[in-house]
């Protein structure tokens, strides 16, 4: 059976709301409009305006309200129309949500989910295209998930809602309409994925490729091309950026001895940098080539189609990096 990511998210929300009366959804246009991207379609009708709340365009205010409701024991799901707008509310995500359980020595837990599309969509320009994975995942107290497939979307969103801690859930607008095969297990309402575990999407032995969200798809395509050229790439879908599944990543690198990290966000202090450091810390002696880091270009997102294409990683970039990692055993600098 095939399922769209949109449906996967919608059904996960629906099931968790139906299972736990403490779960409610709030955000801009989530109710009457059925969600700016229709993720919450039908939920208002089903659960009523007490549990599906349209908010004004005031992120700081409604996010603070969500966090306060979580203090009290409810389980809010706060939708950001996109994560770019979460910056207006970031103080509540960091200072009010992530740190409260610690500051109160466990008195005030914050079971809340912040979700919405993250990163680049298509042609929406610099202010609407930022990836917040690295920022949020740097903060102790938060968990940060980023699904790729419909299975991920269902299993991780359900895990996030059930989790007692604040979870930042980074979706991708361009995936909403993509379909993925789903098993009966995935469709079962009890289905849930563990937080902090990566998934090996494709096994391989020559080079490890790490990716999350939409980029997993590109990496899989790259792996296919590489296979044709005799390079067997292992593709890791991170799923969880915090906690980062260091053991899966390191185990893979110890097998392949080569690593390409791919992400859409800005390079500096990105997820790739962290993965590189994690591997250097744990598997330095196993690396046969420098880590190849592919990231979004270090510029605000341009609008023009040709520039935009250059600014985000493409399949060919991944292929090229993997080849570099495999064919070249001298340091990159010497080759450049």
């Amino acid at each position: 059976k095939q399922m769209m990511v949109r449906e996967a998210l919608n059904s996960a929300l629906d099931e968790e709301m139906s299972a736990d009366p403490k779960v409610f959804l709030m955000g801009e246009e989530v109710g009457e409009y059925q969600g700016a991207y229709k993720i919450s379609k039908g939920l208002l009708e089903k659960y009523g305006p007490e549990r599906v709340l349209d908010t004004p365009i005031t992120e700081a205010g409604f996010t603070g309200i969500g966090v306060g409701a979580a203090y009290y024991g409810l389980k809010p799901v706060v939708e950001f129309m996109t994560f770019n707008f979460s910056m207006q509310a970031i103080d509540h995500i960091i200072n009010s949500a992530a740190k409260s359980n610690y500051m109160s020595s466990g008195q005030i837990s914050v079971p809340i989910v912040f979700r919405g599309p993250n990163g680049a969509a298509a042609g929406v320009g610099a202010q609407h295209s930022q990836c917040y994975a690295a920022w949020y995942a740097s903060v102790p107290g938060l968990k940060v998930l980023s699904p790729y497939s419909s299975e991920d979307a269902r299993g991780l969103l359900k895990a996030a809602i059930r989790d007692p801690d604040p979870v930042v859930f980074l979706e991708n607008e361009l995936l909403y309409g993509e379909s993925f095969p789903v098993s009966a297990e995935v469709l079962d309402s009890s289905f849930c994925l563990p937080i902090g575990k990566a998934k090996i999407e494709r096994e391989g032995k020559d080079v490890t490729i790490t990716a999350f969200s939409k980029i997993v798809g590109l990496s899989l395509k790259a792996a296919e091309i590489l296979a044709k050229e005799g390079i067997s790439a292992e593709v890791i879908n991170l799923r969880s950026i915090r906690p980062l599944d260091r053991s899966t990543i390191n185990a893979s690198v110890r097998k392949t001895n080569r690593l390409v990290t791919v992400e859409e966000g800005f390079p500096q202090h990105g997820v790739g940098a962290e993965i590189c450091a994690s591997v250097i810390e744990e598997s330095f002696g196993y690396l046969d080539a420098p880590v190849e880091r592919i990231a979004g270009a270090d510029v605000p997102m341009p609008y023009a189609a040709n520039l935009e294409r250059m600014a985000v990683p493409q399949v060919e970039d991944i292929v090229r990096a993997a080849k570099r990692a495999c064919y070249r055993s001298v340091p990159m600098a010497a080759a450049a």
Binding site: D54, F85, A297, Y303, A304, L307
Partner: protein
């Protein structure tokens, strides 16, 4: 023809903490005809943008202004290009009003070199600094403190000019409005906060988003005026009044009662949260262009035929601009890395471009 002409505004101004300006607005045949031509151009331009979008020549978000033209036009008539304007993402017509060209608009929409941002900004990020237009902002509410900052700089520089910061009814609930307004009032900044109340923030009717939708009263302590935003002359009168006030006494709020015919952006059909009757009612009774057309005809300033000819001319201008824009090239690949910083990437600035070596291989 510049013979003075006095025309009554459609409805009286409603005022808060100030005395409303007179309903009698001074104008001239020339001004009315130019209102007509400019608004017709804007209307035509937005309709054309809609088609270009549907033809997939425009990407991403695209927020159209048709229905709200009188605000852009009336405001310009009341102020000068030395005054500053800043607005949100619904910025095509505001840009045109500031003197931007159709070619710049369409080129930007299509992501071409001749765009006002050379294709790097897109629909939401038009600018024209040389005539005081500071964008084109995508984050709801952000332009309000930014506008107050422009006003701060005008006062600091003793320029005797003012800033108009435009925002929607949805944006009017943003906390940063209250923060900026308080500071503007404390510091007597020559800032005019213009709420373009088109009665919906995306799919949310104003009363569902605001406990008090009296946007002209948003700051208790700051004078405000509610204006028929479909009446270019009323807008002009209000903006003149507000400018004078702001130079003397600091900030003021103008609420423009207006309407957007299109959906919020191209992905919104615009018909699930309001009735077709509501839309056609506004079109029939309050359309800003029709209002000016009627005035022109009533005062015998032009014939119906002459006005139709203007519309034809405008349509041709738009078509020509589109044709030209389509020929404008995409930006050079190297433009990806320019303008990140003012001085570009010199020796001092280490670009991490090698992170994606491919870029370098392909284009540099």
């Amino acid at each position: 023809d510049t013979t003075p002409l006095t025309i009554e505004t459609s409805v009286p101004f409603t005022s808060h903490q100030c005395e409303a300006p007179s309903r009698s607005v001074e104008t001239t045949p020339k001004e009315l005809l130019s209102f007509f031509r400019q608004m017709a151009t804007m209307r035509r331009m937005e309709i054309a943008a809609d088609s270009l979008y549907k033809a997939k020549l425009v990407r991403g978000f695209c927020h159209l202004y048709d229905g709200q033209e009188a605000v852009a036009i009336g405001m310009e008539a009341g102020i000068t290009k030395k005054d500053s304007i800043i607005t949100a993402y619904r910025d095509h017509c505001t840009f045109l009003g500031r003197g931007g060209t159709l070619l710049e608009v369409f080129s930007e929409l299509m992501g071409r070199k001749d765009g006002c941002s050379h294709g790097k900004g897109g629909s939401m990020h038009f600018y024209k600094k040389d005539s005081g237009f500071y964008g084109g902002h995508g984050i709801v509410g952000a332009q309000i403190p930014l506008g107050c900052g422009l006003a701060f700089a005008q006062k600091y520089s003793k320029d005797e000019t003012v800033t108009f910061a435009l925002y929607g009814d949805g944006a009017a609930n943003q906390g940063q409005l209250f923060e900026a307004l308080n500071i503007a009032a404390l510091w007597d900044l020559p800032a005019i906060l213009v709420c373009e109340n088109n009665h919906y923030g995306m799919g949310t009717a104003e009363w569902r988003a605001a406990k008090s939708p009296s946007y002209y009263k948003r700051g208790d302590y700051v004078p405000g005026l509610k204006v028929d935003g479909m009446d270019a002359l009323a807008v002009k009168q209000a903006c003149k009044f507000a400018k004078e006030h702001a130079l003397k006494n600091g900030p003021m709020i103008l609420e423009m009662d207006t309407y957007r015919y299109h959906g919020h952006s191209m992905s919104d059909p615009g018909s699930t949260y309001r009735t077709r009757d509501e839309i056609s009612g506004v079109r029939q009774e309050r359309d800003p262009i029709e209002r000016i057309r009627k005035l022109i005809l009533a005062h015998d300033l032009a014939t119906e035929k002459e006005l139709k000819d203007i519309e034809k001319e405008v349509r041709k201008e738009v078509d020509d601009a589109i044709a030209k824009a389509k020929e404008s090239p995409m930006p050079e690949p190297s433009e990806l890395f320019t303008n990140v910083y003012v001085k570009g990437y010199g020796v001092e600035i280490v670009l991490m471009s090698h992170v994606r070596e491919s870029l370098a291989l392909k284009y540099c």
